[in-house]
């Protein structure tokens, strides 16, 4: 019986940036930062419009109001959204290994998930409206878990990269099924 078990990090040909020996986390495409920033600016714009629309009602209810309050609040909120987008981008990492895939994400709370390929039930590639501008896609990997929230969604991958990961997983499943039949 084979007692020696290896779970090497796989290098994706498209990027060829993962070391074979060490488990080094990969960042998603740098274009994804643009998507996150754009998304945050849209949120900012929506809130700004809502605030301007209800500004008079809000001011009436405030005991004290100065214009600089408003500008300070907006600046802080805008900075928060920018920082959040940058941190979220930096924290969004993944590793494709020989037998499983790991994904890390989060802003304040960091969540790391791992799905072994032997438990993968479905692999989906989804292209969002904003992501399509930079040819990005996200890969959704689901197991048979009861809780739907554990579906692994790696967003911000280049489309080719997502396709490569999908192929690796499908190939693994095929080989495994080939062995068991």
């Amino acid at each position: 019986m084979n007692n020696h078990f290896e779970n090497k990090v796989l290098s994706i040909n498209v990027l060829n940036k993962i070391s074979e020996e060490d488990m080094r986390w990969n960042r998603v495409s740098s274009h994804f930062l643009k998507v996150l920033l754009l998304r945050s600016q849209l949120v900012f714009l929506a809130l700004l419009l809502a605030f301007l629309f209800f500004k008079n009602d809000i001011i009436e209810k405030l005991p004290v109001y100065e214009d600089w309050f408003f500008y300070l609040f907006l600046t802080i909120f805008w900075l928060f959204l920018i920082i959040r987008a940058v941190v979220e981008y930096k924290r969004r990492q993944y590793v494709v290994r020989e037998h499983d895939i790991l994904h890390k994400k989060g802003f304040i709370s960091i969540r790391t998930s791992v799905i072994p390929y032997v438990r993968v039930q479905q692999v989906k590639i989804v292209e969002g409206a904003l992501s399509r501008i930079w040819s990005l896609a996200s890969i959704q990997i689901s197991s048979a878990s009861a809780n739907g929230s554990d579906v692994m969604v790696i967003a911000g991958l280049l489309k080719d990269e997502a396709e490569e990961i999908r192929k690796i997983i499908v190939q693994y499943i095929k080989e495994r099924d080939g062995k068991t039949v």
């Binding site: 019986m1 499983d100 998930s113 590639i125 048979a144 554990d150 039949v181």
Partner: protein, 528 residues
Amino acid sequence: MEKLFNEQQRQSLLSVLIFAVNHFRTLMRQGLALLFLVFFMLRRFIENPFYLISSIIILLVLTAILFLIYAYYQYKNFVFYIDYENEEFHLSSGVFQKKEISFYIHQIQQVYIERKWMQRLLGLSAIKIEVAGASSETISLNSLSHGVAAVLLKEFQIIQKQKQKIIPPPFRDNAQPIIEPLAFIQNKKREIYAEPEQKSLPPKIPFKTLEVPLKNILKNAVVTRILQGLLLLFVPLQFIGYDFLMRIFDFLEEHYSFQIVWGPLVILAFLLSGVLLSVLLNTIRSLLMHFNLKLEEVEKGQYQLSQGLINLKVVQIKPQRIQMVQLEQNYLQRKMQIYTLIVRQLKDLEEGQANVGIRIPGITQKQLEDLVNGGFIPDFRAKGKTLQPLKRKFWIHTLFFTLINCVFLGITWVFYPVLWMPLLIVLLPIWPLGIFWMYKKVKTEQFRYTLNQVWHQKGIWKRVNTYFYTSKVQSFDKQHYFWQKRFLHAHIFTAASVMRLTYYPQNEWKVIQRELLEQLEQYSPKWF
């Protein structure tokens, strides 16, 4: 084999109609408020009824045209094909958000044809494909012409038959997976997990019938769910009405002697009658639900659980589909030496059931041992390596508990100063008691594991022991705030439920996760 679907195909052109009708239905269902809003806005601006009706009609026609255009693009982008060489099914769809789904055809758990009234009317059929598991969604090709749907179904079956697989594979009657995980573990020889109990496993003696006597069901009913019953008592209070309650408070305020002498007695009597009422209700409920509870083997590897007084409820249980087992025992149950057993099995794709926990109350230690020896549930007595949450869990909980108490006192101080002192008198003994409770809770919580099984035990009043075979694990997940370097919250997902571990040491957990992952990945044990 003739490759009928090897090129990209679209659904029937009539699918445009189906898509458009579906959008219209969604609008009616979810956007009714929006429609009303539009109607009232129009009425505000257009006073003449003729123009009002005309504009509504124009709006409806415009919406229909928009839906039709959108539906046309949906039809155009909805493309599927079978990759015969790799035995994969590919589907891409979406207009603004493009979606690509592909799966290995042997992964299909269930595939069937569905024809609703509208599809029948248009001569169409829908093919529904369930890939597996509870969280995986059903893939639908809703508007295939009936002939194409039948041929596609046949193609799936042919490809699957070529690999000698039958749909749906999780429920093969002759499967013996309970033996399998044990065999899978017995092959491992590692010093760290060497366990005398596991090496000398007794031969399995399948039990034929297990009956829970009425006496035990009644005993169980009397000692469980007391708190829930008490909480139920507060429900009618909201129907009594605010005025009535205020009158009672006014009466108590006016008659101070009554408050001092009879007040505590009234509260005590209220609580006591509440306990009695909840016991009575729970007994009736238990009798109705669990009367004549019997678990019997109907055929090899398949059991049937029947129970109920008026409505007889029958559930089929296959041990291989059990994903997670939970043993509950509160303090009073411990004194009576009875347990509540909850088995969580994989959802039944055939019957469309949700992942249900099947509750077997009033079960004795001897009966549990029979179930274990018969291979119905994993062994709850086996020992393994133990890991406990960090003491920090206690400190964090204590901090929160103290903060909540302070907030209560603060609110009372500001808004109801009269009640501040009585509240302080009540909270003073509750605070240390609560802290002691939390200390014991953290102290008694533990996670045990071997290569074969994992257990999680927690609770002081009610001890809950959750456990399952490691072969049932689907995925892992861990979570922590970026400043937390020593502990994490870990989740182990199975196809029926999740095991949640909070405030466990990070470094130790990494080792455990690696060990368990290695087992899954090296030996690919079956989970159904």
